[in-house]
């Protein structure tokens, strides 16, 4: 069974908060897990002709739920919010191709350590950070 871990995480969160496991939530979770870096709009179109029609508001609500459960994380690329599956992943940042929109994940501990060092010199304590590199991916460099 694919995605069992994510489903378990969601159910755990739902039970802990006296929320319910619904068909819509499972459907949205499934669609989310099949696609990295989706927006609410994309999921909405993707599920457009699903048997019981799923409203846009429900998708937004469920995506927020996934964030609360620790399954997803929001990323603000451009004007829309993208959601990223973070289960089984350590912290990572992104490169975004401004030509084709491709999103490449990467992680680099050295950068993180330098961030801590810089913050320390200003007496600043980091809780989270956001690092995005914009440019051209290998394919678009022509």
């Amino acid at each position: 069974m694919k995605h069992a871990k994510e489903l378990a995480k969601l159910q755990d969160h739902l039970v802990k908060h006296h929320l319910k496991v619904t068909k819509q939530r499972e459907v949205i979770l499934d669609a989310f897990l099949r696609n990295e870096h989706v927006t609410a709009e994309q999921l909405y179109r993707m599920l457009g002709r699903h048997k019981p029609h799923i409203g846009l508001a429900t998708i937004y609500r469920t995506l927020n739920l996934l964030c609360d459960s620790g399954i997803a994380q929001e990323r603000h690329f451009g004007s829309q919010t993208h959601y990223d599956n973070v289960v089984n992943k350590r912290h990572h940042d992104h490169m975004i191709c401004t030509q084709c929109g491709a999103i490449i994940e990467f992680e680099n501990c050295d950068i993180e350590h330098l961030q801590e060092a810089v913050a320390a010199t200003h007496g600043f304590t980091i809780t989270t950070h956001k690092l995005e590199l914009y440019g051209l991916c290998r394919q678009c460099k022509n």
Copy 2:
């Protein structure tokens, strides 16, 4: 005379593009230069009781103009767009205090070099980047 360089830069841009020097543009530029990291709303409230009332649309238009002139740069902190004076400054990034909203600028070449190195391993060419550290500033750490 304060801010002469910025004013010259704006006038130069206006002339080059057959645009006009207006009272509103000078007033907005002045208010912008007095305050680092402002939003359009903040400027609007700041100029609320100015002799000739300045509309919000004009502020947005002028801020975009400042960006085009190379005087300002947009930063998307939270839901609103902040504008940052970049004249006489090299590239820099920001720490944002999630408690009091303070914004601290910093620059670090080592981080930039590491970014280039990481990008290179993915065949990616960086044109711009965004690095934001969120956390608590020295004062709020209590």
